[in-house]
């Protein structure tokens, strides 16, 4: 399954040059840039692991690309996302977020149903290992 979280998941995976430009856009807006990774991309998994602290006060995206390269070296088999955080009043939240790394074989989600009274169904979304991975 192709996970479509983030701002650009319906486009071909971004090249480093494209990622650089998006990060530079964040820096130009004065946003802090954060790198996070996870092996659990459940839609309700809000807190991915942080790769160090958010990067404040950078001038050029090359610094972020340096960290991204390092993060990929260690966690290249996981999802990695970059986000830009805006601390200005009235926002104080993420302003952009996009995937920059996917595992070679992506997991998928199974939908589990529990039927209860009145035709109501309780749903649970469960992460499953990639179908391709099984020999």
């Amino acid at each position: 399954m192709r996970l479509t979280q983030g701002c650009f998941s319906f486009l071909p995976d971004l090249t480093d040059d494209q990622i650089y430009k998006q990060v530079q856009y964040c820096l130009a807006n004065g946003w802090a840039v954060n790198i996070e990774f996870t092996d659990d991309p459940h839609p309700r998994n809000t807190y991915w692991e942080m790769w160090g602290l958010p990067m404040f006060d950078l001038s050029d995206a090359a610094g972020v690309m340096m960290e991204l390269a390092e993060c990929r070296r260690v966690y290249g088999d996981r999802y990695i996302r970059i986000s830009g955080f805006d601390s200005s009043h009235g926002w104080e939240s993420v302003r952009i977020s996009f995937l920059v790394n996917r595992p070679a074989q992506e997991p998928y989600f199974a939908l589990e149903r529990q039927e209860v009274a009145g035709r109501v169904v309780r749903y649970a979304t469960r992460l499953c290992p990639s179908r391709e991975a099984t020999p």
């Binding site: 319906f10 486009l11 856009y25 926002w91 977020s97 749903y123």
Partner: protein, 486 residues
Amino acid sequence: MNAHAGTLRGKERYRSGVMEYKRMGYWEPDYVPKDTDVIAMFRVTPQDGVDPIEASAAVAGESSTATWTVVWTDRLTAAEKYRAKCYRVDEVPGAPGQYFAYIAYDLDLFEPGSISNLSASIIGNVFGFKPLKARRLEDMRFPVAYVKTFQGPATGIVVERERLDKFGRPLLGATIKPKLGLSGRNYGRVVYEALKGGLDFTKDDENINSQPFMHWRDRFLYCMEAVNRAQAASGEIKGTYLNVTAATMEDMYERAEFARELGSVVVMIDLVIGYTAIQSMAKWARRNDMILHLHRAGHSTYTRQKSHGVSFRIIAKWMRLAGVDHIHAGTVVGKLEGDPNTTRGYYDICREDFNPMKLEHGIFFDQSWASLNKLMPVASGGIHAGQMHQLLDLLGEDVVLQFGGGTIGHPMGIAAGATANRVALEAMILARNEGRDYLHEGPEILAKAAANCTPLKAALEVWKDVSFNYQSTDTPDFVPTALAAV
């Protein structure tokens, strides 16, 4: 024209009989509005031969303390405080016979946190007042003290984005078509296809409630099956605006509770349910962590004509106070009424924490929103993927773009229609962030994205010549009317 009319004082003022409004204290050109006053600005068109000052004073009188004749019971009150005061009357540029009347109301005239009370005062009685041919409420200024008595949007743009985990781009939606006639089972199919294809939201139309072809409970159950399936298929959070509009408050609560029980992130209401019901639902939405979508059904009956009625900017302001999270606010380029500058004014009212006076956008007052949540505008009606660059330029990033026909009418199917829209949007955001001149290079950017995406290619081909380029009726008075650039 703002000369003093000579308010009568003391015994003279309370002599029984009929008296000109402007001499009863409703015309006070020297009055300086207090920071705590509510201010309303009306466009008045007096009957032939009626003095515009007297007409404006009458509006002030009839929307506050006055009646047609002098009453001695005024003297049992602090009447001078409670009288609304018309303090300025201007000729409308380029519109002979029309006047802008500015009226200040003391804060004590209003019940805290009640749009119904506010609207009953400001537009309650006077719209049928005989000495005026026509009258329109153009804009209002609310003091911070009054703004703070309202809840404001139940969720707000920031928390909505956090809850949906969607940042940095407009959200995408589609209204299920045909509006009427689909069974619950077939309706859910459209929801599933559209969400799986890449939309964030689907939407019930304003008149989808509980009809013989599809009762509400059946719709909710099938829709939530579709939402959960699409969520699992994409790994993204999805939603469908379940319209809970119904005949009674009890029915609406029942439907909303059921939507909550099924795990929906959003419910929907129509403007026609009335201000009290809207505020009740806003409070319910805040209590239940629910996004509240408002369809502005019916508004054009009173917002569209420039000389009479209520401007939509007033409705937008009232709705931000009342506490809905989404409001349809125009597309500019689509099939429904919407001058670019006037629409820009509506969007600013929804999304900014402070609106500076901007006459060219139809904003007549500075307005502080005192950290009230931001309200997500929704653009819906006759828009398609080929306009993505214009939509982004005109409407910005914090908006829901609803492509109903532009999704469901796609030649390759609903999911393909949704994908086309999502790809077009993401390509445009990517290009914008890279610093490209996306407004002018838009068609080129779309064509390049379409090279990797057959659905987008098909969409651009089918709707390439569609635009709705008509003169708007509700345009600002302070700039020449502009056609949307298409």
